[in-house]
C-alpha cells in the first residue's frame, strides 16, 4: 500500500467514524478563467505598487541623506570661505602692503611731477 494512502486512511479513521454516512456533496464555488486573470493582475498590480511605494520611500531617505550631506558640505565651504576672507583681508591690510612695498620692493610714493593724470 502506498504510504500516502495509509496516511489518508488513518486520518479518515481519526476524523470520521466507520458508521458515518456519506452525506451529499456540495459544489465548491469555482473562479472562472477571466476572473482568475483579473485577480492575478490585480494582485500583481498591488505588489508592484507596494514595491514602488517601498522604492520611493527608500529613494526619499537616500536623497535626504544626500541633501544632509550636501548641506553639511555647503556649511563647511561657507566656513572655509569666511576663513579665506579673513586671510585675504589680513594679507591686504594696508600696513602690510606698505611694508612690503617699501622694504621688499624698495618702492616710494611718487613725487608730484612724476604723477601723470590719465583721466
Amino acid at each position: 500500500m502506498p504510504r500516502n494512502q495509509i496516511r489518508s486512511v488513518a486520518l479518515e479513521k481519526v476524523l470520521a467514524s466507520d458508521n458515518r454516512r456519506v452525506t451529499p456533496v456540495y459544489a465548491v464555488p469555482q473562479l472562472g478563467k477571466g476572473k482568475m486573470t483579473i485577480f492575478i493582475v490585480l494582485l500583481a498590480g498591488m505588489v508592484t505598487i507596494g514595491c514602488l511605494i517601498a522604492w520611493s520611500h527608500l529613494q526619499f531617505i537616500t536623497y535626504n541623506y544626500q541633501i544632509s550631506q550636501k548641506y553639511a558640505d555647503q556649511k563647511e565651504l561657507h566656513n572655509i570661505n569666511r576663513k579665506l576672507k579673513v586671510e585675504l583681508a589680513s594679507l591686504k591690510s594696508l600696513p602690510r602692503l606698505e611694508r612690503l612695498a617699501t622694504e621688499t620692493y624698495n618702492m616710494a610714493p611718487p613725487e608730484p611731477q612724476q604723477v601723470i593724470n590719465l583721466k
Binding site: 465548491v28 566656513n79 569666511r82 579673513v86 600696513p95
Partner: protein, 691 residues
Amino acid sequence: MNFMLNKWVRVRIILVGLGLAVFFLAILGRIVDLKFIKGPALEDMALREHQKNFPVLPIRGSILDRNRTELAISTFVKSLGAHPRRIADKRQLSRKLAPLIGMNAATIQEILERDRPFVWVKRHLTPQQAAAVEKFKAELEQQVKARGKNASEDSDALTRTGNAFYLLPEARRYYPHRTLAGPILGFCNIDGHGAEGLELQYDKYIYGKPQKSLNILDARGQIVISSEKELIDQTMGDNLILSIDRTIQYIAEKELEQGVKKWHAAGGFAVVVVPQTGEVLAMAQMPPFDPNHYHKYCKDYYQNRNVTVALEPGSTFKIFTVAAALDAKTVKPTDPYHCENGRFSLGGSGVINDVHPYGSLTVAEIIKKSSNIGAAKIGLKLGPQKTEHYLKGFGFGQRTGINYAGENYGLVRNITSTRALIDRVTVSFGQGITTTPLQLAMALAAIANDGILMKPILVKEIVNHQGEVVEKYEPTPVRQVLSPETARIMLGMMKSVTEQGGTGTEAVPPGYAVAGKTGTAQKVVGKAFSKSKYNALFIGVAPAEKPVLAIVVVIDEPKGAIYGGVVAAPIFRGIAGQSLKFLGYYPQLEKMQPPETQTAKSSKTPKPEAALAQPPAPVESDILGLPLKPGPLKQMPNLVGLPIRQVLAILNQAGIRCEIEGRGLAVEQRPDPGAPLPPNNVCYVKFKPHS
C-alpha cells in the same frame, strides 16, 4: 471540473476559517492597541529617538568700510568642552590634553575637577589644536576597539572618557586689520556678543538670532532630514556698512602715530569728515587698540575717545566766536581791535594775555595771529545771549547724534548767568569750555558746508546677508548755523592762517590750499590749569576753495613743543595731502612752489581763484629726469632698454596708448623704432626682468 466536498470537510474549512479569523482579529486588536491606545505614547517615544532639536548657531554679520572691505568678520572655530563627572582618570586625561591645546596640565585638571555637568576646557582652539584633539579622540576609540570585550572594565572607562570631552563649533570674531579703526569697531566677548563700540551699539542687528532646527536622525545618529536650511535667514546677522574709508583711516592713524612718537605725546586724536554729508571718513586715536586681543587693554584704550572724551579746544574755538559775531553782524572782517600789547586787564576779574604783543588788529588778523585779547573783545561785543545761541547752533554742549554709546556732551557753561566776567570772556578763545573732537569736527564742517551743520554719519547702511538694505542713514542737515556768506568769509580768514605770517603754515600740503586754525590748550589737572601739560590742536578744511575734507587733529601732552601750529599742523598736512590724493584731488603744480615765491606771485595775480583753475603745467621731463624731445612724436621712439615708467611717460606725452607685457626693461616693441606712429595710437611693448 466540479469539486464536491462532504460535510466534514466543510466543518474543517469553517474551523480553519474561524482560526484564521481569530488570528487576524488578534492582529487587528494588536494594531488597534499599538496605533490608537498606546499609539500617542509610542509615537512620542519614537520621536524622541529619531527627532532631535539641534541648536543653530547665529553667524554674526560683518562690519565693512564704505568700499565694502571687511573690518570685522566672524568664522567658526572649535572649542573643547567636557563632562567632568564622566571622566574616570582626570589627571591622566589632563596630561594628555595639555600639549595638544597648549595649556598647563594642572590648569586642565583643575577645570576637570569641578563638580559640574559641563565645563569648557579651552575655547576658540586654533585649527592645529582642534585637529590634534580630534586625532587623540580617534586614537582612544581605536584603543577601545583593539581591547575588545576581554578587557571590559578598561575599555568601558576609556569609552566613557572618550565620550566625555568633545569639540563644539563656536563663532569667533576676527579683525583682520588689527588696530585699524579698533576703538570704533569695539569688540565682542567670548560668547560672540558685542561688548564695546559699534559691536555693542548695533549688536541687535549684527548678532542674528540663535534658532533650533528639528532634525530626523537614523539609528546611527546621522541626520536624515534637517530643517536648518530654512532657518538661515533668521540666524544670519546683518552687515554694517560704515562711512569709514579704511585707507583714509590708515593714513590718519599712521600720521597720528608718527606725530605722537615725534613729540613723545601721551596720545592723540584725528577726525576726518566730509563737510557736505557729515560722513565720518576716519576717527583715529593713539594709543592704538587691537580688538583681537581686547583682554590685554584697559578701558581707556578701547573706548572711542573721539566721541567719549571732551577737551578744551583752545584757540581753535576763536573761529566759532568770530563766525558768530560776523553772522550776527556785530563785527566786520575789517573792523580794528586794539590788542592791548599782549595784556588785557578785566578789572578785578582777571587778566588775559597774548603769546605775542599786538597793537591794532582787524578781525581777520585776530584769526590769523590768534590773538586771545582780540577774540575776547569780539566775544564781549557779541554778548552772552548771542554767544550762547551760536554755541548751541554749532552743536557744542549737545550730543551730535552719531548713535554711539557713551557719547560725551561736552561742557558749555551757562554764560548768560555766569557772574565772573573772566569766565564769560575766556569762552571766546576756547577756555572754560570742552568739546569732543567729533563735535569740533562737525562744527568746523558746518563752516565748510555753507553754514549748515550736518548730523554725523558713522554707519551708512545696515544690509542683510542677501544684500538687501535693512536700514539706511542718509545725510541729515541739523540746522543752518551761519549764512553761506558768513561761512565763505570765515573760510577766507581761516585760509590766511595757513599763509605767510599765519600760525598754521605747516599745515599746507604741497599743491593744495588749506583753511584752518591752530590751537594750544592748557590741560586741566585737578581743579587748575596745568602749566606744563597742553593739548596742541589744528583744525582745518581742504581744499580751501571747495572743501572736501574737514579734519581735526589733537595731540595730547606733546613734549618739546606745545603749539598747535608746530605739533598738530604737520600731522594735518600729512593726513590732508594723502587723503586728497587718494580721493582723486591731485595737487596743483603752481601751488607747489615755496611759500615765499607763492606769496610774491600771488601779489601780482589779481584773482588767485582764476590761477587755481588753470590746468597743471605740462611735464617737461620724464620721471628719471631725462630730457624728452619737445613737441609731438612723428615716429616710434626706441623704447628698448627702458623701464615701464619711462616708457609710459614717453608714450603718454605722445598720446599713444600702450599694451604692456611682462615687467622689467623693454625688450621688444611694435611698431619698431623709427616706424611711423600706429594709426590707432596703440603700440605693444614687451618687458623682461633685468636678470
